[in-house]
Symmetry: C2
Subunit: 295 residues, 2 copies
C-alpha cells in the first residue's frame, strides 16, 4: 500500500514528463521479482491503461487499486542536481490522494506480509485497521509526515514489526544524531526492527541484539534516484515473503536483494530500468555484493 | 614516516592540552600491534621523555626520530563539534617540521613495508629517494597539500603502491565526485591500490579489477576523532607486514584490522585509548566486523 503517481523528473541525464511513479509502484515492481503482489492505492481517470497493463504483467494484482472517476492522479514534479543525493520538489499535486480511503478487497484481508509504503500515516493506520495482522509488517515514511504528523507515525509504529526510513529521516524523527541511539529510541515506539537507508553509504538494520551494515553497490553513473528507497523496500519484503521467514539471516539477505534492485533502479528514469531488468541480473548483483563485502 | 606532534584538542567530551599526536605517532602505535616499527620523524627539545618511553615500550624504534636541539615540536590546536566529522584548526605551529630533512638510519634503508603518513609531499619524496624500494609502499596526504602541492603529490604517486586518503580529499585531488571514477583517475598517476577513508560510512579499496567496501563499526560515543585515519593506516600496513603478503585477501583483512583499531582510537582523547588497548580487544572487534557484515 502506498502512492501510485505520475512523475515529472529532471536530472543531469535528461528529463521525463508524467512517467509512472509512486511509492507503491516501485515497491510492487521490486517485490514482484520474488512474490505475487496485491497493490492497494488510488489513481484518477487520467491514469494511462498502459501502466495498468505493465503492472498486471508483473504479477501485481490491481483489485485494490481504486480508479476514481473525474479525479486526477497524484503528481510529483522535481529535479536532482550535483551528486543527485537530494530530490528537490518543484510541485506536488495531491489530487486523488487527498481523500484516499483505502478499500481492501475481501481476498487481501489476511495478508502474509505487508508493506505500508510512504503515504499519510493516517491512511497507513486505516489499512492496518482493515487487515488481519500479517506475519511481518513494514512501514516507511518521509520527512514531510515526520514534520506534519509525528503522533500519527507513532501510532502506526505500535502495530508494525519493522520501520524503514532514510538516515536523515531517522535523525529527524528520533531527535538523535547517533544512529545506534536513534534506532534504539524508535524501537521504543514498537518495531523490533529498524532499517536505515543511507544512499551511497548503504543500509543498516538494527534489531534488539544485533546490527547489520551493508555498503552500497558502487555505481559509475546514476541517471535518476527516484524510487531507489522504495525499490529497496520492495526487494526487502519480496524476498522475506518468498522465503516465508523473518529470521535475522533472511532479513539480512533481503536487504542485499533490496539493495541489488535499487542499484538497477537508479540506472534509468522512473521505472524504465525495472521494465527490462531480469531476475538473473538481480541474482548476479547479489553475488557481486558478496564479492564487494567479502573479507 | 610522518609527523610527531603535540596536540591541543577540544571536543564535546572535554579538552586536552599538548598531548601526544601526529600522523606518524598514530600510525606507529596502530602498526605496533602487528609488527616492529621504525619511526622516521622529527621533534624539538621540548618533546617530553615520557612520550619517547611510551613509544619505545610499544616496540617502536626511534633511531629515525630526530630530536632537534633549540627547536619546538610541531603543534596543532583544534576542535570538533556536533557530529565530530570535521576537525577545525585553531592554530598550527609548524616549528621543527618547517625544515625537516629526514635522515634515514643505515639499518632502515631496505624496508619491507613503508608508510608515508601525511606530511609535506616533498619530504615524502625525499624519504623515497633515500630508501630502497619496499615490497609495498603506502602514502597518505591531506587537503592542505592537495591545494598547495598537487604536483609534488603526483610525483610521490609515481613511486608508491597504494594511495590512502579520505573521501573529500579523493574528490578534491581527482576533480571527480564519483568515487569509482575518482579512484580510476588517481590510479592513472601510478598506485595500483586506492584506499578511501569515509568516516562513519566506512572505507573502500579500489584495485585494478575489484572494489572492496567495508562499513564503519557503529559506535554510540566518539570522544575525539583525532588520529582515526592514521590509526586505520597503521593497522592496515601493520597487518600486511605481519602477513608479509599483498594479496588482495590480505589487503581486505588489513582494512578490517585498521578499522578495528580506529574504532578504539576515537574512544579517548589523542592516544589515550591506544595506551591500554589490548590485542585481544582488536581481535574481538575483527570478529564483530564479521558479524556486522555477514549475510
Amino acid at each position: 500500500m502506498g502512492s501510485v503517481a505520475l512523475d515529472s523528473i529532471e536530472s543531469p541525464s535528461g528529463k521525463r514528463e508524467n512517467i509512472l511513479g509512486g511509492s507503491a509502484t516501485y515497491l510492487s515492481l521490486a517485490a514482484s521479482y520474488f512474490s505475487p503482489v496485491n497493490l492497494v492505492s488510488v489513481v484518477g481517470s487520467d491514469f494511462p491503461d498502459s501502466h495498468l497493463e505493465f503492472l498486471r504483467e508483473r504479477n501485481i494484482d490491481l483489485k485494490g487499486l481504486i480508479i476514481k472517476e473525474d479525479s486526477k492522479t497524484f503528481r510529483w514534479q522535481g529535479y536532482y542536481e550535483g551528486a543527485l543525493n537530494e530530490a528537490h520538489t518543484i510541485k506536488t499535486e495531491v489530487n486523488v490522494l487527498a481523500d484516499f480511503k483505502p478499500e481492501i478487497p475481501q481476498e487481501y484481508q489476511d495478508p502474509d506480509y505487508l508493506f505500508l509504503a510512504n503515504i499519510n500515516p493516517d491512511i497507513q493506520s486505516e489499512v492496518l485497521r482493515q487487515l488481519k495482522k500479517a506475519k511481518f509488517t513494514v512501514c516507511d515514511t518521509m520527512n514531510y509526515w515526520i514534520t506534519q504528523k509525528p503522533e500519527s507515525i507513532k501510532k502506526v509504529l505500535t502495530k508494525v514489526d519493522a520501520f524503514m526510513l532514510n538516515e536523515t529521516e531517522l535523525r529527524q524523527f528520533s531527535g538523535e544524531f547517533n544512529l545506534l541511539k536513534a534506532a534504539k529510541k524508535v524501537m521504543g515506539f514498537g518495531p523490533g526492527v529498524v532499517v536505515v537507508k543511507r544512499g551511497d553509504s548503504g543500509a543498516m538494520m538494527f534489531t534488539g541484539n544485533s546490527v547489520f551494515s551493508l555498503p552500497a553497490y558502487p555505481l559509475k553513473t546514476i541517471i535518476d534516484p527516484t524510487g531507489a528507497g522504495d525499490s529497496f523496500g520492495g526487494g526487502f519484503i519480496g524476498y522475506i515473503c518468498r522465503q516465508d521467514s523473518t529470521e535475522e539471516r533472511i532479513l539480512r539477505k533481503a536487504m542485499v536483494y533490496g539493495s541489488a534492485i535499487a542499484s538497477f533502479d537508479v540506472g534509468g528514469f522512473g521505472t524504465e530500468r525495472l521494465k527490462d531488468l531480469k531476475f538473473e541480473e538481480v541474482e548476479k548483483r547479489y553475488q557481486e555484493f558478496k564479492k564487494l563485502t567479502d573479507f
